[in-house]
Structures are given as structure tokens and as C-alpha cells.
Amino acid sequence: MSSRRSASRASSSTMSEDEIITDLVLKLQALLPHLNPRQQTSRQAQASKVLKETCSYIRKLEKEVDDLSGRLSQLLGTIDPNNQDFDLDSIRSLLQI
């Protein structure tokens, strides 16, 4: 395989990871089909793009969790805790879950 592959300790040093990263990141891309990296000139560049877009996507989702938590907190203040809004079965059927 690669002559750059390091035989030393299994740490995360950048040099020994490069080719492994590229292969595995492209596998990650396959698991996240909505990501659409442009055709890059090199596999490395494509892999970097996937890593970057994955980070953006995670941040976006976490921000949505923050916003939705705020919204739910406001909504909970308007709900009578004794009424049927918390009926799990009706909510599940409404959510079609």
C-alpha cells in the first residue's frame, strides 16, 4: 500500500491518516446521500469537502434543536398540563409515528 503509512503508534497524527481518511470519508459520503459535494479535482479535495459539509450539517441540526427547544418552552407555558395534549398515543398518531 502507501509508503507513507506509518508503522508507529496508532495515534491521530495527520500524516498517517491521510489516505485512510480519504477512503473512509468517501464511505461517509455514501451514508449521507443528501450531501452533494461538487466534483473536485482530487479525491482528497472531495473528502475534505465532505468533512466540511458534515460539520456544517451537524451545526445546523444542533442549532435547530436549540431553536425548537426555545419554541417548545414558550409553547409549554401556554398549555394546561392536565389536558390531553400530552396524551402520548394521540400525539404519536398525529405524528404518524
Binding site: A10, S11, S12, S13, T14, E17, D18, I20, I21, L24, V25, K27, L28, L31, L32, A47, S48, L51, T54, C55, Y57, I58, R59, L61, E62, E64, V65, D66, L68, S69, G70, R71, L72, S73, Q74, L75, L76, G77, T78, I79, P81, D85, F86, L88, I91, R92, L94, L95, I97
Partner: protein
Amino acid sequence: MSATTEQLERNFTHRFLTSLRRINSPDSKTTTTHAAGLVIRRRSLRIKRAAYSSMARAAGSHRAWTRALLSRARSQRRRQQHDVHRRRQGREMGRAGKLRGLVPGGSRMEMGQLLEETAHYVQCLAVQVRVMQAVADHFSSSSSM
């Protein structure tokens, strides 16, 4: 949606709604002695923590990220801090340094595991957001406001 995702969604929804009911119960700490804005903010943090914990439990302990997230939540509770999802510094940067900081437990994983855990974490986050959105829509359509 695959069968496993459906099951995850059901499991998460059940746990999350149970938590919401508990958070909203009249004898919880958010009494009227506090200003309304503070009540809402505090409750928002509790809801956020409940969402992540519910998802981590629903996803199962065979995942490293779920174990890392729940253990972080436990130690944060002991230190009485609010933000269970505080960003960690990635110690070893490399190309995946930012990602290591985003995925719970990521700084301790070797690369292959990190990417697998990332894919699972992202899928679970998407489910979490989808369900929270649906619950919020349900409550907002049935509230009297």
C-alpha cells in the same frame, strides 16, 4: 423510512414526550416567583437536555457517542452546569479536528470509528429535529394563543 429508523423515532418520541410532561408539571421548579423570560429560558435548557438524553437512550448504548453524551450529561449534572452540550476542544486536530469536536466522544476515537459514529449521530440528530418540529407544530396548533 427504514424499520430501524421508525423504531428509533417511536422510541425517541415516547421518551421525549414523557420528559416534556415531567418538565411541564405544576410542581416543577419553574414557579411564578421568577420572571417569565427566565422561566422560559431555563425550561428551554431542560427541554434541550431532555431531547439529547432521550435520543441517546433511544439510540442505544452500543454506540460510543451515546455513551459519551450520557456520561457528559451525568457529570454536568453533578457540577450543576446547564449546558450539557458544551463544545469540547479537539486535542488532535488533523483533517477531522472540527468533526471530533462535534461528535460526542469524538476526540477519543480512531478515524474509522469516528466516521461511523458521525454517520449514526447525524441520522439520529435528523430524527430528533423532525420529531421536535412535529411536537412543536402540534402544540402550537392546539394552543389557545
